[in-house]
Amino acid sequence: MEEIYYDQLKETLYRDRLDNGLSVYILPKPGFSKTYATFTTKYGSIDNHFRLSGQEDIQVPDGIAHFLEHKMFEKQEGDVFTRFSNQGASANAFTSFTRTSYLFSSTNQVYENLETLIDFVQDPYFTDESVEKEKGIIGQEIRMYQDNPDWRAYFGLIESLFVDHPVQIDIAGTIESIARIDKETLYQCYHTFYHPSNMLLFVVGPVDPGEVYQLVKQNQNQKQFEPPRSIERFYPDEPDRVKRERLDIELQVGQSKCLMGFKEKPAKISGQELLTRELATGLLLDMLVGPSSDLYRKLYEQGLIDDSFGFDYTAEEEFAFSVIGGDTPDPDKLIALVKEGFLEATEKGLDEEAFERSRKKRIGRFLRSLNSVEFIANQFTRYRFGDSDLFDIVPTLENLTLDEMNRRLKEHVDVGRFSASVVKPGKTEA
C-alpha cells in the first residue's frame, strides 16, 4: 500500500491495486464520526454499446445501467437495505453518465458494513419476477422526473446539444426502453462491467488504513474472478454542430426555466489535460456569468434572473458541455443577452483582476468541499476514472495563466455549438 501526504491540505491518502485488479483508496479522517465508502464501476448510462474481448459486441436497452443499480439491492434472502439497517448504516446508490456507485455511511460496525457493501455488489441475483416488479418502481421514478421542470430543462438542453452521442439518453431510460430489459441482459452487463479491474473502492472516515486494507484484501482473496478482460466501448462520432438550437417544453411552472450552453468539440482528452480544461472552463464561466460579473449584474438589474441563475460545466473523456441559466420571465431576452455577453468577451478578452478573484474563490471553495466525506469519495473516483487526481486541483488552478484562459474562452464559445432549452408555463386549462 502506497502512502501519499498532501502537505498544504494536511491529508494522507493510501492506495493500492489488488491482484484481481481492484483499485483501493483509503483516506483517514480522524475526528469524524462517520465512515463513508463508495464502490464504483466505470459503467454509466452512456455505455450502451460495447464488447468484451473475445465476445461479440452488443447494444443494450436505454436505462439498463440504472436498472441494474436498482436490482443489485435485491438478493435471494431479501433486501440488502435490511442488512444495512440492522448494522445502522444508510446505504444508497446512483447512476450517472459514466459511473454506477454503491455506497454506505455509518458511525458503527464499519467493517461489517464494508464487507456487506463489497459482497452485495459482487453477488448479483436477478429473477424474471423481480425484474418485472422493478419496472413498476422505476416507471414511477421516470414519471417523477417528467414532472420535474429543472430536470426536464437540463435534459432538454443535453438532448438538443448532442446529435448522436448517448449522453443525451435519460439515465433512467424510458417506460418503453425499460420494458425490453430482461434478466439475461442484466447479467451480461453485470459480467462485463462489474469485474474488479473496472472498479474502485474508496473509504473515507475515522478508520485505520492498514486494517481496512487487510479486510478488503482478505475479502477479495476468498473470491474467484475471471481474469480481467478489456472492454471496448463504442460511441458514435458526434458531429460538430448541435441537434437543434432551441427546445421549448410546456409544463405547469410558475416561471419559465431557461438553460443554455455550449458543446465542446470532440477532443478525447483525459488526465491532467482534461482536469486543466475543466478547471479553466469553470473559472471562465464564473468570470463571465458568476455573481461578480458585469453580465450577471446587468441581467439581475433588468429582472431577467434571480438566485436560481447559475452555471455548470461537465467534462468527461467522451463529451463535454456547459450549462448556464435558471428561472426567468423572458427566456428570449435572456438567451440573447447571454450570447451577446459571451461573444463580446471573446473579442475583448478576460480581465486579470477578475481572473485572480475567481481563482481565489475556487481555491477557497475547494477547501470547503473537503469538509465533506461524500464529496471526497465521489469526486476522487470520478477524477481517477478520467486518469486525473482530485488533489491536483489547487496546484492546477495555481498554474493557470490568463493566456490559457483566453484561449479556452475562444475554444469554448462557438455559436455553432450553442443550444437553449426552455420550460415554460403551459396552458392551465385541460
Binding site: 462517520k34 437495505f81 439497517s85 460579473s293 439581475y300 471553495r365 477547501l367 403551459g426
Partner: protein, 427 residues
C-alpha cells in the same frame, strides 16, 4: 478526538454566542439566527428583509461589489434565508470562511468575515429612515418570483398545500417566505422600521463552528457586531395540541403525470416533550428509512411508488406522509398507508424493525457531528424548544425505547388531512 456537541455559550451585547471549537473542518462556519413569532403581519416582511440585507450594504452598495469582496476573501460564502421551526420564523445569516492555515496567503479570513457580517447587519444601504428603494423594489420582484416558483417542485407544492389545508386557522399554514399578495404593499420605510425593532428586541443567536478560540470569537463579535439592543423579548409558544374531529379530504388538479399523495397527522408531541424521542422512533419505524413500513409496503411489496416516506416537523408535531404514485392507484395507496398507521397503533412492530430503527437513528444523529451546519441546527432546536438535550441523552433514550412506548405514542397520533395532487383527466 471525536467532537462532542457542546457549544460554549455566552452573551455579548445581548447577542447569544455559541462557539464549538473543532479542528476537523477546513473552514469556519458562522450562523446567525434572528427569531420572531410566525405571523401573517410580519412573515412576508421578514422574507423580504432577508433578501434586501443580502443584496447591499453601505460599504458594498451593489450586489456586485459585495460579491467581489467575498470572492477575494477566498470565496467566502454568505447567504441569508428564512426558515420556520414550528410557529417561529427565523431569519438566518450564513457565513463560511476558509481557514487560512490551509492557504499560502495568511489574510485573517475569520476576522474579515465577522467584520463583513457587522457591516451587513448594522450598516445596511439606507436612505434616511428607509432602506434603499431601488434595492427594495428589485427584491420585491425576486421574492414574488420565488413564491411563484413553489409550484415548480410538485413534492414541495403538495406538502405546502397539505399543510395549508391542515392548519387553516393556525400560523403554521404560512410559508417561511410569506405571501405573495402581501409583497407589493411593503414600503422601504416600513421595512426599515420593522428591521430596527426586530434587531433591537428579538432573540439573536450566533453560532460558530471551526478551529477557533472562543475568546477570540467573542472579541471579534464584540468589536464588529454592534447593534443597539435591549433584553430580548419572550416569544409565543407553538400550538401543538389541536384536536381532530374528522379527516379532511382535499384534491387539487394540475397538469402532472404523477400523483402526489400527502397524509398529514397530528402527533400532539413536540421537541420539548418527554416522549419526543419515542415519536422519533415511531417516525423511523413508519417511514423514515428504506426498511420502514411505508417503503416496504407501498414501494417494495405493492410496487406503487418510487418514494413513500414520512417526515416529522419536530416543533409543531406534524407527521407528514408522502408518496408519488400512479394517479389510478390513489385508493389502493391510501388503504395501504392507513393499514400501516393501524399496525403502529396495534403495536404490530417486530424486534427487527425496532432494532433497525434504533441503529439507523443512532447513526443519523452521530452523523450530525460531521457537518457544522447540522451541529448548529441540532443546538438551535434545543434553544427554540427551551429543552437542551445532549446527543448522549437522546442516544440513551433511543436505546431504551420499547414497543409499548411506540404504541403509546401511536395512540396519540391522528390522521388529520388526506391531500392528493392529481392530473386534470375527467375533470
Amino acid at each position: 478526538m471525536t467532537t462532542s456537541l457542546t457549544f460554549e455559550t455566552d452573551r455579548v451585547r445581548q447577542l447569544d454566542i455559541h462557539v464549538l471549537p473543532t479542528p476537523k473542518f477546513k473552514t469556519i462556519t458562522v450562523v446567525m439566527n434572528i427569531q420572531q413569532d410566525l405571523r401573517e403581519e410580519t412573515a412576508t416582511k421578514a422574507a423580504l428583509l432577508s433578501l434586501v440585507l443580502k443584496r447591499a450594504s453601505e460599504k458594498y452598495p451593489t450586489s456586485q461589489a459585495m460579491r467581489r469582496y467575498l470572492d477575494s476573501l477566498y470565496g467566502t460564502v454568505f447567504e441569508t434565508d428564512v426558515i420556520k421551526k414550528g410557529e417561529r420564523q427565523i431569519i438566518q445569516f450564513y457565513l463560511e470562511v476558509a481557514n487560512e492555515q490551509f492557504l499560502a496567503d495568511q489574510t485573517p479570513l475569520f476576522a474579515r468575515g465577522i467584520e463583513f457580517l457587522g457591516d451587513v447587519l448594522t450598516s445596511p444601504l439606507v436612505d434616511g429612515n428607509a432602506f434603499s428603494s431601488k434595492v427594495v423594489d428589485m427584491e420585491k420582484e425576486t421574492l414574488k418570483k420565488k413564491l411563484d416558483s413553489l409550484i415548480d417542485d410538485k413534492i414541495r407544492y403538495a406538502n405546502q398545500r397539505a399543510t395549508e389545508e391542515m392548519c387553516q386557522d393556525e400560523p403554521y399554514r404560512l410559508m417561511a417566505y410569506g405571501q405573495k399578495e402581501k409583497v407589493d404593499a411593503i414600503t422601504p420605510e416600513e421595512l426599515y422600521s420593522y428591521y430596527r425593532e426586530l434587531l433591537a428586541q428579538n432573540p439573536v443567536d450566533i453560532y460558530v463552528v471551526g478551529d477557533v478560540d472562543p475568546d477570540a470569537v467573542k472579541r471579534e463579535i464584540d468589536r464588529h457586531l454592534t447593534p443597539e439592543r435591549g433584553e430580548p423579548v419572550a416569544l409565543s409558544p407553538t400550538l401543538v395540541q389541536v384536536p381532530v374531529d374528522e379527516v379532511k379530504v382535499v384534491t387539487d388538479r394540475l397538469n402532472v403525470t404523477q400523483g402526489k399523495l400527502n397524509m398529514g397527522c397530528r402527533t400532539g408531541t413536540s421537541y420539548g416533550d418527554d416522549d419526543y424521542i419515542h415519536l422519533l422512533m415511531y417516525n423511523g419505524i413508519l417511514g423514515g428509512f428504506p426498511h420502514s413500513k411505508l417503503f416496504i409496503n407501498v414501494r417494495e411489496k405493492a410496487s406503487l411508488a418510487y418514494y413513500a416516506a414520512s417526515r416529522l416537523e419536530s416543533h409543531k408535531g406534524i407527521l407528514m406522509i408522502m408518496s408519488g404514485i400512479e394517479i389510478s392507484n390513489y385508493g389502493k395507496a391510501v388503504d395501504i398507508i392507513k393499514e400501516q398507521l393501524q399496525l403502529m397503533k396495534n403495536g404490530t412492530i417486530t424486534e427487527q424493525e425496532l432494532n433497525q430503527t434504533k441503529a439507523m437513528l443512532t447513526n443519523q444523529l452521530r452523523e450530525t457531528l460531521d457537518n457544522a451546519r447540522t451541529m448548529i441546527d441540532f443546538a438551535y432546536n434545543g434553544r427554540i424548544s427551551g429543552r437542551n438535550r445532549t446527543l448522549e441523552d437522546i442516544l440513551q433514550d433511543i436505546k431504551n425505547t420499547k414497543i409499548e412506548d411506540i404504541q403509546k405514542i401511536a395512540r396519540k397520533i391522528h390522521l388529520d388531512t388526506i391531500y392528493f395532487l392529481r392530473d386534470r383527466e375527467g375533470q
